[in-house]
């Protein structure tokens, strides 16, 4: 007994050490990748944002100068921030409602629902450039929509992509179409996990239709809705490709979102410091909104434990 116990600890230690080394070896690729491609750029972005950092030439420390310039002097920053917020406010609710609607429609009772799910998911996996091209062909004045409207009803539709009132709506509509499939899948998965016993009990109690949806189904899948909402808000604050391809940010500055502003500032106008500061302000906005969502979720998200 005694000898055993005196031998075991060192053995366990050496095993422990060996395992630690192995673990170290295993995580090295991930840690190296994370530091090279995430931590370093993030650190560099912080440094850049407090410098006057042109793409070429002398760099000069200016403290919070870039932030002050963005908030007080830059002609396009506030419109860009406004556009990002407007896009998010329009896009997220519509996306969630459409996705939930589709998930409910393609519920267990529909025949061939797998095919429909694939169809609705196709825009998610299609390259956004191809999506935008097709939408452009549909929306432009000599495009499909206006063509149908003039030939069927004799009604000329507005020029959606250059109209101040319609351009953002066109961008949102295309984004909903392209993005709804993902949330539909998330919510479908949640709907299929619903405990049948609970639904039956509710039916026995006389819950039907709207009442069933509002009081039973939505609360039960609220964690999935919460997840979808958080992810969709984050991605919509980062929107870039849709307006860039569809409207080019026009007319005026009405569809330039914050990320396009950052991209233009850094890579078109060669001011990397200002762009980095813009990126940090966007990051703060996203973190703030996400933190607020987590705080508010306690009131409406129900977790089954």
């Amino acid at each position: 007994m005694r000898t055993e116990s005196s031998i075991r600890p060192p053995r366990r230690n050496s095993l422990h050490r060996r395992e630690r080394r192995q673990a170290f070896g295993f995580i090295t690729p991930a840690v190296a990748g994370l530091s090279i491609f995430t931590v370093m750029p993030v650190g560099l972005a912080i440094v850049m944002s407090v410098f006057d950092w042109p793409i070429f030439g002398e760099r000069e420390f200016i403290g919070f100068g870039n932030y002050i310039e963005l908030l007080t002097d830059s002609p396009d920053f506030w419109p860009a921030l406004r556009n990002s917020v407007v896009f998010t406010v329009l896009y997220v609710p519509v996306n969630l409602v459409v996705a939930l609607g589709l998930a409910l429609l393609l519920g267990p009772r529909i025949r061939g629902r797998a095919i429909f799910r694939v169809i609705f998911f196709i825009p998610v996996v299609t390259p956004i450039v191809a999506n935008a091209l097709v939408w452009k062909l549909v929306l432009q004045p000599d495009g499909l929509l206006n063509g149908l409207s003039t030939s069927w009803f004799g009604l000329t539709l507005p020029n959606f992509l250059v109209d101040q009132n319609w351009a953002m709506i066109a961008v949102v509509a295309m984004s909903v179409w392209a993005g709804m499939g993902y949330n539909m899948l998330v919510l479908t998965a949640a709907l299929e996990q619903l405990p049948a016993s609970l639904l039956e009990a509710a039916q026995v109690d006389g819950a039907r239709g709207w009442r069933m949806l509002r009081s039973i189904v939505v609360p039960l899948i609220s964690p999935a809705i919460f997840f979808a909402a958080v992810m969709t808000i984050i991605s919509s604050l980062q929107v870039f490709a849709q307006p860039q391809l569809l409207t080019g940010g026009g007319p005026g500055t009405s569809t330039i979102p914050l990320v396009m502003f950052i991209y233009n500032t850094g890579f078109e106008f060669q001011d990397l410091g200002l762009a980095a500061a813009g990126a940090w302000l966007l990051f703060i906005l996203i973190i703030g909104v996400t933190a607020m969502q987590f705080r508010v979720q306690k009131r409406w998200v129900h977790y089954e434990h």
Binding site: R21, G25, T28, A32, I55, P141, D142, L161, V162, P251
Partner: protein
């Protein structure tokens, strides 16, 4: 022990992988006695890429086997964004293409070319028209050598003119005659007489010709709100909203809308650069295309000399080899190739070759247009804000063409955003 070595090896390998990503050079490499010089140029399609490869083959023959030229391309719309990214990481290709209007933002990236550098390149200033080198100059320092010389032309669809019973444009045309013709063609054929543009000089040329003014004044300041220029630009916008002789571009993202309209026969006239002269007069088009100089405004004919060239990167490690490649790519042998491919060469001695290479069907028309177009053309003025102004222009213009804002407001907005 073995495992420890393994784990250590794995870490080293991963580390090396990461660092090799940071260790890319600036576009030169010297293995086995040959130096590779990267030539970075814009190119939108397979055809133009092939033209560049043909030019490269000739240049390669000139520089010999000690230097290998490697071509890298990006489409025009992305070229400068990519160049900016390369500059940020210090990887500008040794021989990089530059457009005269964009040069002001990139002077620090290029090696100034003095007499010594020109001698290494084997190029003399006398090979050019006095004004031709100015497109590659900033503050009287030369940063590159032009491979072409360009200005803007009015291109027309002769079939639509005939159909409408309107006399073809001439090199003495005035703005009034242009508008008259556009109206008649629109009325008589149902096809729009003109296609307005949202692209830089494609749209600016007519307002400039009408007002006799440039959007950047003599002092290098943005002058978009000069009353005469605003009036001329308003007239241009009215071609869509009032006269109805042009459709409106469908989106600010469609900078190449007007050429497409013209080539599809949906517009009888457009303004575009001389670099497209052979394309728009090609016999393969479904109509007979022609070109004339820009119509003259009240102040007389007005045109600006544009152009592009190649420079040597300031941080290139193999400057001598890069200068040799630069000399080869802009020298007479490659200029001849460019002329045969339908580009108007920058060097005086090579320019006649352009006309010789033209097909008989368009030779007379283009010879007359080029002779008239470059006569008295002035250098294009730009300033540091120009890239930003040019980037923001399409977004403002689409509102004007849609009738939702006035040209005066659009120009005022650009002026107040970017004049510093």
């Amino acid at each position: 022990m073995q495992k420890r070595r393994l784990a250590f090896g794995a870490m080293v390998a991963v580390g090396a992988l990461g660092f090799s990503a940071c260790g890319q050079d600036d576009g030169t490499s010297a293995d086995e006695g040959t130096t590779t010089i990267v030539w970075n140029m814009w190119s939108g399609d397979a055809e133009s890429e092939q033209k560049l490869r043909d030019q490269m083959a000739v240049a390669q023959g000139l520089v010999g086997n000690d230097i290998t030229i490697e071509l890298q391309t990006a489409p025009w719309a992305d070229f400068f964004t990519k160049l900016n990214a390369n500059m940020a990481s210090g990887k500008v290709a040794c021989v990089t293409a530059m457009n005269g209007q964009r040069l002001t933002g990139y002077t620090e990236a290029f090696l100034p070319l003095g007499e010594e550098e020109l001698e290494t390149a084997g190029i003399s200033r006398d090979d050019y028209n006095p004004g031709a080198l100015s497109v590659m100059e900033h503050d009287s320092t030369l940063y590159g050598l032009p491979y072409d010389t360009a200005t803007m032309f009015l291109f027309y669809n002769a079939d639509l003119f005939e159909q409408a019973g309107v006399a073809l444009p001439t090199n003495d045309w005035t703005i009034d005659e242009f508008e008259q013709a556009a109206r008649q063609i629109t009325a008589n054929t149902g096809v729009k007489g003109f296609a307005v543009s949202i692209d830089e000089f494609q749209w600016l040329s007519l307002p400039m010709a009408k007002s006799g003014l440039q959007p950047v004044n003599d002092d290098g300041e943005l002058a978009l709100t000069d009353p005469a220029f605003v009036e001329a630009a308003t007239w241009y916008g009215d071609l869509v909203t009032e006269a109805g002789v042009s459709a409106a571009p469908p989106s600010a993202a469609e900078t190449a809308w007007d050429p497409t309209q013209f080539e599809n026969g949906q517009a009888a006239m457009i303004i575009d650069g001389t670099w497209n002269a052979t394309r728009y007069t090609d016999e393969g088009l479904p109509f007979t295309g022609g070109a004339v100089r820009l119509p003259a405004g009240d102040a007389g004919a007005f045109g600006v000399a544009l152009g592009s060239g190649y420079g040597v990167a300031a941080n290139c490690e193999e400057k001598e080899a890069a200068l040799e490649v630069l000399g080869a790519l802009t020298g007479p042998e490659v200029q001849q190739v460019i002329a045969e491919q339908g580009g108007y060469p920058a060097q005086l001695g090579s320019q006649p070759l352009y006309f010789e290479a033209l097909p008989a069907s368009s030779r007379d028309v283009l010879t007359a247009a080029f002779t008239a177009g470059f006569d008295g053309s002035t250098a294009q003025r730009v300033n540091d804000q120009w890239t930003q102004v040019a980037t923001a222009m399409p977004n403002e213009l689409v509102s004007v063409y849609a009738g939702q804002s006035s040209m005066a407001d659009a120009l005022e907005s650009l002026q107040s955003r970017f004049a510093r």
